[in-house]
């Protein structure tokens, strides 16, 4: 179960990110050298509630805060304000290929990835065959990951994330690089873990995916959830140009 209440996130974007001493000393004397920065509220007062075994789709324009929201759910970013309550373990799959070291082999990367979630060697040994079989990469596990295509890297990442037996699975637009057959396989796998009680949050620009897979959808615009409800209706609202930050419409 996952509960976000009044979550806001502020980023400070530095325009000339000169952290070095010379510029800082100059800045004391001359405003021209003073650092220019801007603050961005990537999320404003967001509330999310997710039940066990429920799947939620997050849609919205670029830069609206979807990935930030997922990172906060994953505990990777802390909210500036608001409260996050998570019961159970979280398996995030947030960026393509992130965390894979290109020089290491598929096998080495697999063991490193699972240990990022606290899995030991034995626990991973027990999952190894199933993960590799799912990713269909048996012949490539001893090749360096830099020789993988982006789809192959995604397969490995997805296979690891969905075999960690976590209570919450977070997926950020990674399915798009899989081929058609593998996308279907991913959907089937996600339905399977959902049936076993895993909650899933998917961020995607593929509205069909949201319609087909999600129980519920949220439209995120400028850091706010502006519509929430049945995937069909929220997707329609998004297509119908409902992309300005207005009060919440619940369907």
């Amino acid at each position: 179960m996952l509960e976000l209440a009044g979550v806001s996130k502020r980023f400070v974007i530095r325009h000339n990110p000169s952290l070095d001493l010379k510029v800082r000393v100059l800045a004391l004397f001359h405003p021209r050298h003073r650092e220019r920065w801007q603050e961005v509220w990537a999320l404003r007062e967001v509330d999310v509630h997710l039940e066990r075994g429920e799947s939620l789709g997050l849609i919205g324009p670029n830069g609206s805060g979807k990935s930030t929201l997922l990172r906060i759910m994953a505990g990777i970013l802390l909210p500036t304000r608001g409260r996050v309550a998570v019961s159970g373990t979280v398996a995030p799959m947030l960026e393509l290929g992130v965390g894979f070291h290109p020089e290491l082999t598929g096998r080495e990367n697999l063991y490193l990835s699972t240990s990022l979630f606290g899995f030991g060697r034995r626990q991973t040994d027990a999952l190894y065959d199933r993960i590799v079989a799912f990713a269909e990469l048996r012949d490539f596990m001893d090749a360096p990951v830099k020789t993988f295509s982006s789809g192959m890297a995604m397969r490995l990442g997805f296979a690891v994330a969905t075999h960690l037996e976590a209570d919450i699975l977070l997926v950020d637009e990674v399915l798009a690089v899989g081929d058609r057959a593998f996308q279907e396989k991913c959907l089937a796998r996600m339905s399977e873990v959902r049936a076993r009680g895993c909650s899933i949050v998917v961020v995607t620009h593929d509205l069909d995916l949201v319609r087909r897979f999600c129980d519920r959808a949220c439209l995120v615009v400028e850091g706010r959830i502006v519509a929430e409800g049945a995937p069909d209706e929220v997707a329609a609202r998004y297509c119908g140009g409902g992309v300005t930050a207005e009060p919440v419409h619940a369907f």
Partner: protein
């Protein structure tokens, strides 16, 4: 936090293994390089100090390496630590593991090299015509433990500070050279003028160097001052490192 780190022991192990694999992969001699390194240093120093530069210390090459190998561990670990967080953004973005694992693993990776070096150097010290190895060598074990913990404290501190001030990396490089020459590693402590010697007693690196020289070279138990100084500086470095790291770690992802 300690409980978290115990749970994430496999992560620390895998991070160390990753660095070792990356270091040796693709080289024909692999680990043999790390073993050959201290042997070659010993050979070069023996030739250089017997025939070129005469220092009034018997068995000088041994004297030098006894404190130089541990110093190299400390210095390499400290400068590696400045990149332990800022160069690992992609791991930080992947999962919410305890961030301490990164600097700790980078220290242990360098420590593994020290152990390899000692595996060659200690037998040489025991067997070659030189100072020999006395019973005090068993004190090396607690000493190494303290030195790893001290270095971990410094590594936590440096890795966290570098996320806010990139200058720390450069500052560390320069600072290490300075501290190296201020520490009696290349020269014996009794060559230091009397008035400076009391100042030296306050320097943790000097205390560690003296302790290594005592237990491995002079074959004597370190003085009370040396022992307390290593112990207190270890506790201080760990507490400072952990407090600063804990305070700064929530903002790491926004700064790498």
């Amino acid at each position: 936090m300690i409980r978290d780190l115990v749970r994430y022991r496999p992560l620390i192990r895998n991070l160390v293994l990753k660095e070792l694999t990356l270091k040796y992969r693709g080289s024909v001699l692999g680990v043999a390089w790390s073993l050959a390194h201290p042997a070659l240093l010993l050979l070069v120093y023996t030739l250089a100090f017997r025939h070129v530069l005469r220092v009034p210390v018997p068995h000088y090459p041994f004297f030098l390496l006894v404190a130089l190998l541990p110093w190299n561990f400390f210095a390499t670990a400290a400068s590696a630590a400045t990149g332990a967080i800022v160069l690992n953004g992609s791991l930080l973005r992947k999962a919410a593991f305890p961030r301490e694992a990164l600097p700790i693993a980078s220290v242990l990776f360098v420590f593994a090299q020290l152990l390899l070096a000692l595996a060659v150097f200690l037998p040489a010290l025991a067997l070659a015509r030189g100072p020999g190895l006395k019973w005090t060598a068993v004190l090396l074990l607690p000493l190494l433990l303290l030195h790893v913990l001290f270095t971990t404290g410094i590594a936590l501190l440096l890795s966290a500070l570098t996320t806010a001030w990139r200058d720390i990396a450069h500052f560390t490089e320069v600072g290490l050279v300075l501290v190296f020459w201020l520490t009696p590693i290349v020269y014996p402590a009794d060559m230091v003028p009397g008035s400076w010697r009391s100042a030296l007693a306050l320097s943790p690196p000097a205390a560690f160097a003296a302790a290594y020289q005592d237990v491995l070279f002079w074959g004597r138990v370190p003085t009370w001052t040396t022992a307390t100084s290593t112990l207190l500086s270890t506790v201080a470095a760990l507490v400072l490192g952990l407090v600063v790291f804990k305070t700064m770690s929530p903002a790491f992802l926004e700064r790498v």
